[in-house]
Subunit: 238 residues, 2 copies
C-alpha cells in the first residue's frame, strides 16, 4: 500500500472512530418501472422475501454494496431481479424516515423508468415478478406505496411538458392510442379535439402516412416521435 493510501485509510478510520454512530446506515435503491398494458398504467413488482411483509409486494430493490457507486446500483439490481439491462433509470428522490426499514436505518434512493412492455420481456420469474395495474395497488411492503405515489405524481407533472409517454408505446402508434396512455396516467377522460390540438402544438410527432392495421375500429393514422426527441431525458430503447 502506498504511503498516501495508508494516510487516507488512517484518516478515514480516525473519522469513523470519532463519529462511529454516524457510520451505521445502509443505503438501498428501489426501481419504479412503469409500463402500459390493457389501457392501464402498470408497475413492476416482486414478492417481498421478508417475513415482516409476507404476502406483500415490493419494488425491485436492494442494498447498495460497499464498493458500488450509487448510480450503478439500480442497474445491477434491475438486471439481477428482472433480467433487464437495456433500461435507462432516472433518479427521483431519497426516502429517509427513521423507521422506514425493519433492519435498521436504511435510506433508499428511488429510480424510475418508462418502458414499452412488449419490447422488454421479463427474463426472470423468481419471486413472483409481475406487472401490476397501479390503480389496484393499495398496499406495498416498506414505504414503497409512498415511493410509487411520488413517482406517479412526478410522471403526471411532467407528461404535458415533456415527450415522456412515448417510452411506454411501440414505435408506431395512433393518436387514439396516445390519448389512451395520457388518460391512463392522469386518470381523467380527455376531450378528443382538445387533446389532438394540445399534441399538435407540441410538434413532437412525425406523420408516417400509414394507417393502423388489425384494428376493429376505423384505422387511424400512424405517428412516431420525431428523432430529435427520442432520447429525451436519457430514455432509450434498444
Amino acid at each position: 500500500m502506498k504511503t498516501a493510501d495508508k494516510e487516507a485509510l488512517k484518516r478515514k478510520t480516525n473519522a469513523k472512530i470519532s463519529r462511529p454512530e454516524f457510520f451505521n446506515i445502509a443505503i438501498s435503491v428501489d426501481c419504479v418501472i412503469f409500463g402500459y398494458a390493457k389501457k392501464e398504467l402498470q408497475v413492476l413488482l416482486i414478492k417481498s422475501n421478508r417475513k415482516e411483509f409476507s404476502e406483500l409486494y415490493s419494488l425491485p430493490g436492494d442494498l447498495v454494496r460497499p464498493d458500488e457507486d450509487l448510480d450503478t446500483a439500480p442497474y445491477r439490481v434491475l438486471k439481477e431481479k428482472t433480467g433487464m439491462d437495456d433500461v435507462f433509470l432516472e433518479q427521483v428522490q431519497a426516502f429517509g424516515a427513521i423507521d422506514r426499514h425493519p433492519s435498521g436505518r436504511v435510506i433508499t434512493i428511488a429510480y424510475y423508468s418508462l418502458i414499452d412492455i412488449l419490447h422488454h420481456k421479463l427474463q426472470l420469474s423468481d419471486n413472483d415478478l409481475h406487472w401490476h395495474s397501479v390503480k389496484n395497488i393499495n398496499q406495498l411492503a416498506f414505504d414503497h406505496k409512498l415511493i410509487l405515489d411520488t413517482c406517479i405524481h412526478k410522471l403526471k407533472e411532467q407528461i404535458m411538458d415533456h415527450p415522456l409517454v412515448f417510452n411506454l408505446l411501440p414505435e408506431k402508434f395512433s393518436l387514439r392510442e396516445l390519448q389512451d396512455v395520457y388518460e391512463a396516467i392522469i386518470n381523467i377522460t380527455l376531450d378528443r379535439r382538445n387533446f389532438r390540438k394540445m399534441i399538435s402544438l407540441k410538434k413532437w410527432l412525425l406523420d408516417l402516412n400509414e394507417l393502423e392495421i388489425n384494428t376493429p375500429r376505423r384505422p387511424g393514422k400512424l405517428y412516431k416521435l420525431k428523432k430529435e426527441y427520442s432520447s429525451f431525458n436519457g430514455q432509450k430503447k434498444k
Copy 2:
C-alpha cells in the same frame, strides 16, 4: 421495553449482524442556497473545516444524525450554519460515488432553495459564511462543484416553465430587473421585446400601477407575482 419492540430490535440487530458490511455508510445533506445580487446569481458558501480541503469553500452541510429524519436534517443544518429558519428546501439529488468523501462512505443528498438575499440576513458569521457569485467558482471541497453545477442546470431547465426566479427578487420589481435575473441565471443576453412577450404569455405577473423610484434610468412600471403562484414549489417568504 414492550415485547413487540424487543422483537423488532432483535430483528434489526440480526439483520445488521448478518450483513454488517452494508451498515457502514453515513448520510449527509448539503444545502445549495441561491441568491441574486450585483446582477449575478449567488450561492451561499462556508469555509471547509477539514484539513484535506483547507482554503476551499463548501456548501453548508452535515451528517444526518442517527435519530433524525432525512428531510428534517437540511433545516437543522441550515439553522446551525447560517441562522436561517424560514427557507423552504427542495430535495434535488443524491450523490454517491464511492470515494466522494475522505472519512469513508458518505452519500449526500443535495437540497436547494432560491431566496431574496435582502430578506434573509445571515445571522451567523462563523466559518467565513458568505455569498459568492457562481460564475467565479472554479473549485469547491468534496464533490460540491458537481453538486452546485447540477443545481444550476436544474434551475436553468425550470425557470422558463415555472415561476421560480421571483423567490430571488423583492416583492415588487420592474421587468428590467426580472430580465436581469433571467440573464444572470442562463448567462445569455435576451432580446428585450422577446423577453417581455414570453413573460406576458405566462400570465404570472400583476401590474401594480406603480413606478420605480430612486432609479437613475427612466422609472419602469412595477409588478409583483400573482398570489396564486406565490407558493409555487413550496417556496415561501416570511
